[in-house]
């Protein structure tokens, strides 16, 4: 049996369409795979909790060291050299410029190095922790550690010494704790501003405004229009309106978190209004009528019955908004600034996670690895949020279906 000519052409076209779809799918997977491969090496708890800027500590140790012999933990890697006298494990690494450095790989919890006096701040104490780089160390027996001589030599010198005259250590930095904090602040402040406004607008549109109302019509048009505006324009608006505004009412000077939150509030407002209105549409009129027939007022009906049933819809609006806030960069570059900060202050510039990526890639030496790691974090959070939205939406439709 032979296929007809038309059938052959059909099979050919079908094949091409399938192929194009597969190429698209492959490209998507490849891009995510590449970012994942680049960044996954950096992903660690330390990345999330440490500062972006390296801090240098200057310390010393004078006093009785005691006879304690610290045991080398069995799970320590072979490349780590251990000083049983001080309870410190050292390993070699390369810094950003490719020079060899000595890294602290392990500190025993009983080690005196956990609490050393700070030379720079009288009365304060410094804790030597993992991943700090050893700078210069001068021991009381006048031996000196040089990072070029490697961790093995350094561990030996530690074992011979009874005191430290001067020790300089540097934290690794490149953490994103500050940017995570900024992002959290932005999420909370934006929702505090946008959620009430958005929900009340949706209630006005769907529950109170009459169908012929000009105000409602105008508001709907505006919401539709705002949904399509590129966020950089909102950023400009933030810079032009909200930065001067916040500078007048607070101590802020230039970009700050409050103006950022206000800008983001404008961006997510259409999302919240639309989702809430959709949720209100699903609620059967039966409930409103039953409530009104019981002598409840319009506002009682709205807040006690209607809004209560719309909570899943509002929740999904919140999740969508959070996703939008985490992913927003262009608007925030103007409204909050691009300066990466470890100490987040509401009236000062800082970066959200997305802008953090922009900042480290915009410099003279782009840090692609760190950017990828942050991208993975953002992707994960957005993915989880999207899944949550689906779960919540499913719950909403289930409730809707249960009503007779």
């Amino acid at each position: 049996m032979k296929y007809s000519k038309r059938k052959k052409i059909d099979i050919f076209y079908q094949g091409i369409i399938t192929l194009i779809a597969l190429i698209g799918l492959f490209l998507l997977i490849a891009i995510f795979g590449y970012v994942f491969k680049q960044g996954s090496g950096l992903l660690s708890w330390d990345l999330l909790t440490s500062d972006y800027y390296a801090t240098t500590y200057d310390t010393y140790y004078i006093g009785d060291l005691g006879d304690t012999i610290y045991e080398r933990p069995s799970n320590l890697d072979d490349s780590v050299y251990f000083s049983s006298k001080w309870g410190i494990g050292l390993t070699s690494a390369l810094d950003n410029e490719g020079k060899p450095i000595i890294l602290v790989a392990y500190i025993d919890s009983e080690s005196p190095l956990n609490s050393l006096p700070d030379k720079n701040n009288e009365g304060e104490f410094v804790r030597i922790t993992e991943n700090q780089a050893l700078g210069k160390v001068i021991f009381s027996n006048y031996t000196i550690i040089l990072s070029s001589e490697g961790p093995e030599n350094a561990a030996n010198l530690f074992n011979q010494a009874n005191g430290i005259i001067d020790m300089i250590t540097t934290t690794s930095g490149k953490g994103i704790r500050g940017s995570i904090l900024t992002t959290l602040y932005l999420i909370i402040m934006t929702l505090v501003i946008a959620l009430p406004v958005g929900v009340f607008s949706a209630i006005y549109l769907h529950e109170f405004a009459s169908k012929k109302s000009k105000i409602a019509e105008g508001l709907r048009r505006l919401v539709e229009m705002l949904t399509g505006v590129p966020s950089i324009i909102f950023g400009l608006m933030g810079a032009a309106v909200f930065i001067p505004f916040t500078s007048t009412i607070t101590a802020a000077d230039g970009g700050n978190l409050i103006s950022g939150a206000l800008t983001l509030a404008v961006i997510v407002l259409p999302v919240i209004i639309t989702s809430t209105e959709e949720a209100l549409k699903v609620i059967p009129d039966d409930f409103r009528q039953a409530s009104l027939a019981l002598g409840a007022t319009k506002t009682q009906t709205t807040f006690k019955v209607v809004l209560k049933s719309a909570i899943p819809g509002i929740l999904s609006a919140v999740l969508l908004s959070v996703g939008r806030i985490i992913g927003e960069s262009a608007a925030l570059i103007y409204a909050v600034g691009t300066a990466i900060k470890d100490k987040v202050i509401l009236t000062e510039r800082s970066t959200s996670l997305a802008v953090h990526i922009w900042s480290i890639m915009a410099g003279e030496t782009p840090n692609f690895e760190l950017a990828s790691a942050i991208s993975i974090i953002i992707l994960m959070v957005v993915l989880i949020l999207n899944l949550l939205v689906k779960v919540v939406a499913k719950k909403l439709s289930y409730q809707g279906g249960k009503k007779t």
Binding site: Q289, L294, G295, T297, K403, T404
Partner: protein, 253 residues
């Protein structure tokens, strides 16, 4: 003894936009009796029912002329308090429509909206409403459960209990048994007979046997007009109009 009237309807005309739904309706609805409104679909009986507690206000383009007097006040007066009217004139709908809350909260909803917060008072109101709606024994141990977990008939009785909890004078029922099976229907009919001691009941029904069984007075509507309104026994035994006779004998409708 002269029976007092709960409602006095005079020259009531009602329009939905350009379409007129009720024509010159005039009827008195006596207190503490069951008045049934019957007629084919679209004859205006539900519209009339809903104009008694002004639920038609919710429909845009709805225009009302004439007067409906409740306790000697015209409820279509510009300054009449609709919220207050609806606490006195309760309503039960065609489909059971309990709120998505617990059984207790459903019944306590109306009183709470009136500002009653005292837990003891609410408990007593809920208990009484459930007893009066013959639902108490079935749900007394599950007041905290979702009202949607009840069966259709129970849900409808819950809706009646919800209306009773407001201690109204009148209960309007819009085809309350049309979504229920015969057993649940029988229970509701039994309940209506009980309730009539304390409340004035106006019921819209498609089921003529039901009207004959439970009502004291029956009004027959056709095309937005009141054709005949009389004692139920008279309507069903010796209708004065041909149209009424045709309808109740099942020749049309």
């Amino acid at each position: 003894m002269k029976t007092e009237n709960a409602f006095q309807i005079k020259q009531l005309n009602l329009h939905y936009g350009a379409k007129q739904a009720l024509f010159d309706i005039a009827m008195d609805i006596p207190k503490n009796q069951v008045t049934a409104l019957i007629g084919p679909s679209g004859c205006g009986k539900s519209t009339l029912l809903r104009s008694l507690n002004r639920m038609n206000d919710l429909i845009e383009n709805c225009r009302v002329e004439g007067s409906v007097k409740y306790e000697d006040y015209d409820i279509y007066d510009q300054y009449y308090d609709v919220i207050n009217l609806r606490t006195k004139v309760g309503m039960v709908f065609q489909k059971p429509n309990p709120f998505p809350m617990s059984i207790f909260d459903n019944i306590a909803y109306g009183p709470r909206c009136q500002g009653i917060k005292d837990k003891k008072v609410l408990n007593e109101i809920v208990r009484k409403a459930l007893v009066n709606s013959a639902l108490y024994d079935e749900v007394k141990d599950r007041l905290k459960e979702a009202a949607t977990s009840l069966s259709g008939g129970q849900q409808q009785r819950l809706c009646i209990a919800r209306a009773i909890a407001m201690s109204p004078d009148v209960i309007l029922m819009d085809e309350p048994t049309s979504a229920l099976d015969p057993i649940a229907t029988a229970k509701i009919e039994e309940l209506i007979q009980e309730l009539k001691k304390d409340f004035t009941i106006v019921i819209v029904t498609h089921n003529m046997q039901q009207a004959a069984r439970i009502s004291d007075n029956t009004a027959f509507f056709l095309m937005g007009e009141l054709v005949e309104y009389d004692n139920t026994d008279l309507i069903f035994s010796q209708p004065r109009k041909k149209q009424t006779e045709d309808y109740i004998t099942g020749r049309f409708g």
